[in-house]
Symmetry: C2
Subunit: 430 residues, 2 copies
């Protein structure tokens, strides 16, 4: 097996250029580790004249990415274009149909079409690998597919979006509000000009859907993820979280429950002394809980040219070394179609902050509403007095059902003394 | 490839019994993930009558482990006996000579004989896998060999011994001294009756030697590891570390430097806000620094029946899936024989605690000694006054060479007002 492995790279944005830079820097090291050289045979991108800091003079250039995917001198196609549909999807389908291995960093594509594409890859007898789609340089897909393969996984959760984690960490450190910190993150390049995919939780949900399929041997089900972002998290709630011994993190969590799977992405309060609470800034982290291994945490950079290229090329080295494993660890035909747990059936503890008129009887009304839904309060804080004015009231509950909490909040917001919609953040026992 | 993979398990202590329990619990899941069943064909242990909570009635029993290794109905031998030489080594050599794959959890064996055994395995065309030898259930060997294979690794370090980390964490939390906490750890089963391998750093050094070979593509060189344990760490030094913003951890660290490799295991002061400082109790953690991936941390349980069995069976699943990679990522013939950096040439920052007679001029004498060795002080603390009595003086230095520090300490201990040998702990910039 000393023949060169010939790759075609479609997409020369941050990740594509980073991958080519890595391959140029470490050609010898990679050949040594694979027992064969890896050769960039062709590339494709929209603008040929753009300066990417790379010497591409010896590499064939395809205007048309689909032609690259069909090229007979390409053994492995690297899809680094992005987007859940369109060219990226066509490219992957074309490559697989032509019997070529595919490596992709495209979380949206795999979250939406992962099961079907895995099935196509298996039918063609080739690999479809996507380590770079989840948590950048952290080898979490390999850990789930291989390193922890002896375990039944009961739960997986993580900080899957570095932008959100940076914003939340900075809000806490600085006491500033979401909008201001986001604007700064955009200036620093930690957030996109259009930050919706990140701050609304969609990017984390894509990644969670992929991890869920790997952890539980089920079909990828992005539609089954309950998604909330961090726009509603306020500096006040972060300060209360600190006071209560918690940190606020945007987590993606998935677990097996009642014969189905629960997948959710939303801001969580986690105890300050659990390992994931101390993962700060742009870092990502994933925790997997297995029945024999107990709990494993993996932490590192979840984005950026270098870390993502590291994951792309790790997949490439696997292929060059002859490793062929199903995309989601099990053959696609054996992936189960697990039902999704509806969020209203979720049970957990809750943090609620109300802005109320400071007058006698308000707390009693709130307490009565919770009692009517059989929700048990764990703690209540009403700091400061300002008779006749708005003051925050914070309470935490023992475990209850989401549907009960939703009904209680609907009744609480209707109370005359409650001046704003309540802010609710779920408390996670990790 | 639907034929059963037949294994022989040699050694039914904690790890062996745990491995059989895992295989019994997850036979179906493993068969699904491997595409073929894994069958326990034979076992070997000293005492057949001992109750291990396992039904072994259907399994062939070998009094002689070497006969098991030579048995024609065994495809993979699991060496779970332990010890760097003797039966364990003979067993592995016999199995490899017979063309059988070998999986071992034996860090001492691999640290002492890893290169030669890897060479023998390659010559026989079989796998020699040892994920369980380092950091229990954490898939760190797989991460280095595959997940981070696209990177040049510049440094690797970790908490590689759970007993030491438990003792140091508990000393800090309770303010108690080493001996007392160790005795309690022994009662709780976190430390062996003979704790030397753990608390003197030998166990961590075995693991570090294995990680070093994987990270840097060099031969395993246990003799090249500088080893110090934690017996000399006192409650007073832990308190000072806290005051200075540090935690004391027993780390194993390896890096490439000056064309050689530096490997060392000793107590370190690390800044309290670096991720590894927050790895507490019996947990292990490893950090790998690669040129593209930046820094990756893996954390989990480093010992115990379940986590170790998880790693043993992960290796088994790899083999059942047809994955064949060299033990240390590169073919044994390509592993470099790198020179070891002598500890006296190490450079870093230092913490030193002296017990001195509280009288004028002592600090001046100490400072002059450091100046003579061109060692620059960073901070000095002399808390409290007790004229004519013993008081602690703590100082930290800027970066200097170990040889200079050793000479300075030799002169300081000779000062009349210095009442005890100085305590020195290296400060690590992580």
């Amino acid at each position: 097996m000393t023949q060169a492995l010939r790759i075609g790279v479609a997409g020369l944005g941050t990740v594509g250029a980073g991958t080519l830079a890595l391959l140029q820097a470490h050609g010898e090291l990679i050949a040594e580790r694979c027992g064969r050289p890896v050769l960039v045979s062709a590339v494709s991108a929209r603008d040929r004249r753009k300066d990417r800091g790379l010497d591409l003079s010896a590499v064939r250039w395809f205007e048309d990415a689909l032609a690259l995917a069909a090229d007979p001198e390409v053994d492995v196609v690297l899809e680094l274009i992005g987007g859940s549909d369109g060219v990226a999807k066509e490219l992957v389908e074309t490559a697989l149909a032509g019997g070529k291995h595919v490596i992709t960093a495209n979380k949206a594509l795999i979250a939406h079409h992962g099961t079907a594409l895995a099935r196509q890859a298996e039918a063609a007898g080739v690999a479809l690998a996507c380590e770079a789609a989840v948590a950048g340089g952290i080898p979490v897909i390999k850990a789930l597919r291989e390193g922890l393969a002896a375990n039944a996984i009961s739960r997986i959760y993580g900080i899957l979006n570095g932008t959100c984690n940076y914003v939340l960490s900075t809000m806490r450190d600085s006491g500033r509000e979401f909008g201001e910190v986001l604007a700064e993150a955009q200036k620093l390049g930690y957030a996109e000009a259009d930050p919706g995919f990140d701050v609304d939780g969609v990017d984390a949900a894509h990644k969670l859907a992929i991890l869920t399929a790997l952890a539980f041997g089920c079909e990828v089900n992005f539609e089954g993820v309950h998604v909330e972002g961090i726009r509603e998290v306020s500096a006040l709630d972060i300060a209360y979280a600190e006071e209560l011994g918690y940190r606020i993190k945007l987590l993606g969590l998935a677990r097996l429950i009642d014969g189905g799977v629960e997948q959710r992405v939303h801001p969580c309060m986690v105890r300050r002394d659990v390992p994931i609470a101390n993962v700060e800034g742009v870092f990502n982290a994933v925790v997997a809980e297995g029945d024999f291994v107990d709990s494993i945490l993996l932490e590192g950079r979840g984005a950026g040219a270098g870390p993502t290229a590291s994951a792309v090329v790790a997949d490439l080295i696997d292929i060059a070394r002859g490793i062929r494993l199903p995309t989601f660890a099990l053959p696609a035909a054996r992936l189960k179609a697990l039902p999704s747990l509806q969020m209203e059936r979720h049970t957990g503890c809750y943090y609620v902050r109300l802005m109320v008129l400071d007058k006698p009887g308000v707390i009693a009304d709130v307490a009565a509403t919770l009692r009517d839904e059989e929700i048990s309060m764990e703690a209540m804080i009403q700091r400061g007095r300002a008779p006749g004015e708005a003051v925050p009231v914070v309470l935490t509950t023992h475990e209850t059902e989401e549907a009960r909490m939703a009904r209680a909040l609907a009744r609480i917001v209707a109370l005359e003394a409650v001046l704003e919609p309540p802010r609710m953040i779920r408390i996670e026992a990790l």
